[in-house]
């Protein structure tokens, strides 16, 4: 899709804005520039896990006519996993600069570790069932449970317990607590990482489909 090609425009613009246009935050100083990469990575990972869950639901509903939705769910979950690992690494370095420690078991840090483990288990399950004809259905059920638990870990736990993390973009006051320049930069980075995710997701789906077609044609010969 042509819209996805906009990632090649938005991404460099986002990087330039993050370093040259957005001001440094008053308390955290230069470390605050991590916001424009850490938050979009975390957002995209949540989006990827949601799409993986929705694809799993559709796979179970449609049954045999699912058009490889289980593989699409796997592709989305693997991208989500990549992005959440990057978000965690970036967050850990930000934590060192802002709170003076790489890791301090903040509720959000703890919940992200549990989320990572949930998806590690999913990939183990996927690989363990390689020759099982019911792999798609079993892993889809697992992904639906993972999707249902994800908002709990990402949105609820960090709000229930006292956290060092500042108010999120989606907060009880319903306002984005950022200056105008920071807001614009963050929005452009959010859009660019979202486009990057969809570009990679569709590319992975195309590769999977090609691999499957090739296998089928080789089997027929």
């Amino acid at each position: 899709m042509i819209v996805l090609r906009l990632v090649y425009l938005f991404m460099p613009v986002g990087i330039i804005l993050a370093f040259l246009y957005a001001p440094a935050e008053r308390l955290m100083g230069e470390a605050s520039r991590m916001l424009y990469f850490h938050v979009p990575l975390a957002w995209v990972s949540v989006l990827a896990f949601l799409i993986a869950g929705v694809a799993s639901v559709m796979h179970l509903v449609r049954g045999d006519d699912s058009r490889n939705l289980d593989i699409k769910a796997y592709n989305s979950a693997s991208l989500g996993f990549l992005f959440v690992v990057l978000a965690t690494a970036a967050g850990s370095l930000w934590s060192r600069m802002a709170w003076n420690a790489f890791w301090n078991w903040d509720p959000r840090q703890s919940s992200i570790i549990i989320l990572l483990l949930i998806y590690v288990a999913y990939f183990s399950l996927w690989n363990a069932l390689e020759n099982n004809p019911n792999r798609g259905r079993i892993t889809s059920v697992y992904l639906i449970f993972a999707m249902v638990s994800m908002p709990f870990f990402v949105f609820i736990i960090p709000r229930v317990f006292l956290s060092l993390h500042p108010d999120t973009l989606i907060n009880p006051r319903g306002t984005v607590l950022l200056g105008d320049r920071m807001k614009v930069t963050l929005m452009i980075c959010l859009i660019s990482f979202t486009l990057l995710y969809f570009d990679l997701f569709f590319m992975k789906n195309r590769i999977s489909r090609m691999e499957q077609r090739l296998e089928e044609s080789l089997d027929n010969e």
Binding site: F19, A24, M203
Partner: protein, 101 residues
């Protein structure tokens, strides 16, 4: 291949922004090289406190840039791996076509 080249180009762009910043930190942070400079120095020149282990603003900027560079390196490697997967597929298709002939 095109994607790999784009990833490398984006990384190069990122590295270049790093040099722009380190060269003229005071002005560029606020997009203003003139009157804003003293205000920025207030933040940019915050002294390091070795006792608390806090990092200076310059070190923080280096750290952010290095982290972003690392993120892009990982994404670049990921794109390279996808590109390799496509190349393998192309080779398999070519081989099967040659086999049929």
């Amino acid at each position: 291949m095109k994607r790999t080249i784009t990833a490398i180009a984006l990384t190069a762009l990122l590295i270049s922004t790093f040099f722009w910043n380190t060269g003229t930190t005071d002005g560029l942070l606020y997009g203003n090289t003139g009157p804003a400079a003293p205000v920025v120095k207030e933040y940019g020149g915050r002294p390091e406190n070795p006792a608390s282990g806090a990092l200076s603003e310059e070190v923080k900027l280096y750290a952010v840039t290095a982290t972003v560079l690392a993120i892009w390196s990982v994404l670049g490697v990921y794109l390279f791996l996808l590109d390799r997967r496509i190349r393998r597929l192309e080779n398999r298709i070519d081989n099967s076509i040659r086999g049929n002939e």
